[in-house]
């Protein structure tokens, strides 16, 4: 049926569009994580191929395995002092250093690690 074919095509385009948005988010997330004015996560964590990484936080590797619940990872970045009141890691979301939206993009990137 012509109608069914149509739907299929729309569907394929949609998937294509979503995955390219996702790829964009990963790219943007990486940029936000490395940017000194934004996440600056590299100041403290070894991350992928990032240069001049700091070493006072744990390396960000195997994120999927260590953070199966996305919300846990989100919360660690939103407000690290929740888990550890003396945390060395800034409460990025709570103190308005980066937005919710930006943290979600950083998550997209972190889950590729």
């Amino acid at each position: 049926m012509l109608m069914k074919r149509y739907i299929n095509i729309v569907f394929i385009i949609l998937i294509f569009a979503i995955s390219s948005v996702q790829a964009d988010n990963v790219k943007e997330g990486k940029k936000l994580a490395f940017d000194r004015k934004k996440g600056n996560c590299l100041a403290c964590h070894q991350i992928g191929n990032g240069e001049l990484a700091g070493n006072n936080g744990p390396p960000l590797i195997a994120m999927e395995a260590r953070f199966p619940n996305r919300i846990d990872l989100f919360n660690q970045i939103w407000d690290a002092t929740k888990n550890n009141p003396n945390s060395f890691m800034p409460p990025f979301g709570k103190h308005g250093v980066i937005t919710k939206d930006e943290i979600n993009k950083i998550l997209e990137y972190l889950y590729t690690l």
Partner: protein, 276 residues
């Protein structure tokens, strides 16, 4: 990452620095804490700041110190120091021992004025007393040069800061409190970087231990291309954590300097110094 032993030490340190501890007890705890954290560093070497714990950058720094970038500042400082004011007096008239070899006595608590007197403040007080305009505390310049010269004549003298009375102890406590309080948008205390995590890397920077900070100030910073006083350095660290810096010579900084210098009791003056 911090080992458990280190964690225990820092909890002990924090507790003992906060409850009933006298400044003398604080000093012992503080110095023992660093002794445990950096067992390979000689106590006397803390005067060298980050280079006392980071051997990788030490060699390059030592070669810079062979032809020190602050030499010209010492010379200019000496000339300024010896140039009479309009009334014919000189700086020497305002200081013990004519201002030579006295850096280690600053800051001190003035019991008549109930006020901490830093070296830079004393320099400006001297100018005022002699009818001259005060020098700016910012961007190096004549203030930093005179301070550098006075530090230079004091090299090798041992810091021995006193806390003479209750008012002085209050100022010390206020400085200690600020040192351990998280501030700014990025939520750091001075202690986070200089007590709990010194020796770790923040990008390409390694943070120095909190003891030995005031021994070598003012400092020629190659990044700034000029001399930087201790209070300007405090402001630099506060800016970095996106906290509002205080004005130079305000109580907050004077208290910080008093606490920090007391924690360096027993170390040599080796200023001025050079840093990245």
């Amino acid at each position: 990452m911090m080992g458990n032993i280190n964690k225990i030490f820092y909890i002990l340190l924090f507790v003992s620095l906060n409850i009933y501890a006298s400044p003398e007890d604080d000093l012992t705890d503080f110095q023992n804490y660093f002794k445990n954290k950096f067992p390979n560093t000689e106590f006397s070497d803390y005067k060298n700041g980050v280079y006392s714990i980071d051997s990788s950058s030490r060699e390059q720094w030592e070669s810079i110190e062979e032809f020190p970038p602050y030499e010209i500042n010492i010379e200019q400082g000496e000339e300024l120091f010896n140039t009479p004011f309009k009334n014919g007096n000189t700086y020497a008239s305002c200081f013990k021992n004519n201002g030579i070899g006295i850096r280690q006595n600053y800051p001190y608590f003035d019991e008549d004025k109930d006020e901490i007197i830093t070296l830079e403040l004393a320099i400006n007080n001297c100018r005022k007393k002699n009818g001259e305009k005060p020098l700016s505390y910012y961007r190096g310049g004549p203030m930093a040069d005179i301070s550098a010269y006075m530090a230079y004549t004091s090299r090798g003298k041992i810091i021995d800061i006193k806390i003479p009375n209750y008012k002085a102890e209050e100022a010390y406590e206020a400085g200690k409190k600020l040192y351990f309080t998280k501030v700014g948008q990025l939520n750091f205390s001075c202690a986070d970087c200089h007590v709990y995590y010194p020796g770790t890397k923040l990008r390409a920077d390694i943070t120095s231990p909190a003891i030995g900070h005031p021994t070598h100030f003012p400092v020629y910073r190659s990044r700034a291309g000029r001399m930087v006083t201790l209070h300007e350095r405090f402001a630099g660290c506060l800016n970095r954590i996106r906290a509002k810096p205080f004005k130079a010579q305000r109580d907050e900084y004077k208290n910080l300097e008093y606490f920090l210098t007391y924690m360096s009791n027993g170390l040599e003056i080796n200023g001025p110094g050079s840093r990245k």
